[in-house]
Amino acid sequence: MAVWLLIALAASLGAALATVVIGDRPVSGWISAIAGSVAFGAALVAVFADHAARGQHSLGSAFYVDGLSGVFLIAVAFVYAVVAIYSAGYLQPEIGHIRLRGVYWPLLNLFGLALLATPMVANLGVMWVAVELTTVVSALLVTSEGSDQSLEAGWKYIVIGSAGLAVGLLGIVLMYAAGEPRLGDHYTPTYTTLVSVAPHLNRALVHAAFAFVLVGFGTKVGLVPMHAWLPDAHSEGPSPISAMLSGALLAAALYVVLRVGAIAQLAVGTSYVHVLLVVFGALSLVLAAFFALRQANYKRLLAYSSIEHMGIVSLGVGIGGPIAAYGAFFHVLVHAAGKTLAFFGAGELLSRYETREIDRIRGVISAAPFVGVMVLLGALAISGVPPFGIFRSELLIVTGGFSQSKFALAGLLVVFANVAFVGLYQTFHRMVISPEDRDSAPARRVRRRGQPLMSAAMLLSLSVVLVLGLWIPGPLNQLLHSAAAVIGGKT
């Protein structure tokens, strides 16, 4: 397994170095697209072909990939691959408005590297470093359009994200201290080490550690009320970066919360971990659904949808039981595919209409039929409409809620997923189907020909979110069951 994990990391690191040397030339896009695809392929092989090695350390105790990390690794590797492919088209001068083109490719690949490393590494300290690295590179990527608004968004993201991660680090330090009475004061804080002594961990410290980790890393996840950076960064960053933030970064940060939660539940019982996840998850779901209704900027709308979906995952794990937890982890995968499709569509709209305002875009379907269809399907996919995968995952979480007799939580999900659906679908229907009116943006670039790499990336995301709605392959089914067994699956 270690070989495949190393190949994934080496591909992104190699691409980062190569693109530093090559600079702003089309070949940098191709190198990044190939590196992303290789990393995704290697991650698939590591998780599925070598499944006997799942749940064991590899490369000494450097890597640890079990069901939980496998799900998140597949999600971030997929997002990295499709974003790199899409970016190779989007960065052509006549399409995207990236001013800092020279640093875009190295930073994108470094972002991929840090995201891939987060679910792979065994040491909680290294995990924190990987997430911290994502903040620095992605904040710079958010500012890469060079506008005043993108600088403001990048600034808010750095300040709030760094403060959150400092608090998260305090949580990891407390978890380390909780193990000291049993393990001594010189041990490596890996998941398996801490789990092996979980019943003997200091309970008061574990309570505090998980709370700090949830609030600290929850800031990066975008959980309400620590979400203030997220709508700005998602809306002002270039669209492929918004896709990477939403589909991969939020998931990677949530992974750390769940990994520490998996230790905490063995030390202090499942109810403490579940209750905290439910509180933050429900708050995020409810508030983001309402905020989605009043947005005038379609990228901010998608950003609030990301907060809502992270809330749904937290709620699903917090509801507990094998069905809801399975649904929550399935949701991580389908959200990654659905949200990349939606942000790729938003990138097409922005490049053609040069506005983020919902009220200035009308009649996309007649001006650019392929883009119109993709944008509408993206909106339907992330709204949880059948037959897309998100419908299936939400249905699983609701079913899990009923099976655990948590009717109020299941009902909450049904109601607010529908509120978000109304906000999302109405908006995108208006932009795509309604005819052009006198307030519409000038369609100067609307009718440009489609860019093959951008179209390919959208079709890839669409096919994943659609196929997974209809069919879950056996190995993936097994992976999701083993993820649920790590956290959430036990009551």
Binding site: N123, G125, V126, W128, V129, E132, T135, V136, A139, L140, T143, G146, D148, Q149, L151, E152, A153, G154, W155, K156, I158, V159, S162, A163, A166, V167, L169, L170, V173, L174, Y176, A177, E180, G184, D185, H186, Y187, T188, P189, N202, A204, L205, A208, P231, D232, S235, E236, F291, R294, Q295, R300
Partner: protein, 224 residues
């Protein structure tokens, strides 16, 4: 034992003094309005962070912590404050920071936050290296004061100083309760470097792009 005891008492007393001085530095930050002075108070706080790390390193005979103390002194006491100071001199027109909460009220809130920190730290059954109980009181107080400072100072540089103060709190907590954390040296070094990277990467561009000061009141476009 007879030889060890005086050494132990000296280290404990010194650590207690450093903890008090660090807490007072954190509170002093709330009392200054000038950007330059805020940066200097941060440098003083970092002196205490480095001194405490050195003390624990020497007491434990841990060369890693001694290296970390030297590194902290170089980066946090000299390099970061000087870089920020230079940028302030070059770019900032308004050297006095507009306050959301005025100084007397800020100090009162700071003292209250320190009280909350000591009260909540007392609930954690943990002994810090050399520090008086509750060991995490002072570090958590610095985290809370740093957060409060970031929220209530309407200036980009003050927000950096608040963030760095918060990080100093986490740094002190790590040295206090997990001095043996083997990876600590590596990731704490990174922790110290990243704000500097951030500072040059975004803030310098922010100022260059706007050339109109560092008040975050200018940053009010993105809302909702």
């Amino acid at each position: 034992m007879l030889h060890a005891a005086p050494h132990y008492h000296f280290a404990t007393a010194a650590a207690a003094l450093i903890a008090i001085a660090a807490l007072l530095s954190g509170l002093a930050l709330l009392a200054v309005k000038q950007v330059h002075e805020q940066v200097r108070v941060y440098a003083v706080l970092s002196v205490f962070a480095a001194a405490y790390t050195l003390l624990v390193g020497v007491n434990r005979g841990d060369p890693g912590l001694i290296v970390l103390a030297v590194w902290t002194a170089v980066i946090k006491v000299v390099v970061i404050p000087l870089s920020i100071d230079r940028a302030v001199t070059r770019h900032v027109s308004e050297h006095e920071v507009p306050l959301v909460v005025q100084v007397p009220m800020s100090l009162l809130i700071g003292v209250a936050l320190a009280g909350v920190a000591y009260w909540s730290a007392a609930a954690l059954p943990i002994h810090g290296a050399l520090l008086p109980t509750p060991a995490l009181g002072m570090p958590i107080a610095l985290v809370l004061i740093g957060l409060f400072f970031m929220i209530t100072r309407q200036n980009v540089i003050s927000q950096i100083v608040g963030l760095l103060t918060l990080e100093n709190g986490v740094f002190l907590a790590t040295v206090a309760v997990a001095p043996g954390l083997p990876f600590a040296i590596g990731f704490l070094l990174l922790l110290d470097l990243l704000p500097a990277v951030v500072f040059y990467g975004v803030f310098a561009r922010l100022i260059a792009a706007r050339a109109k000061g560092t008040s975050i009141e200018d940053m009010a476009v993105l809302k909702g």
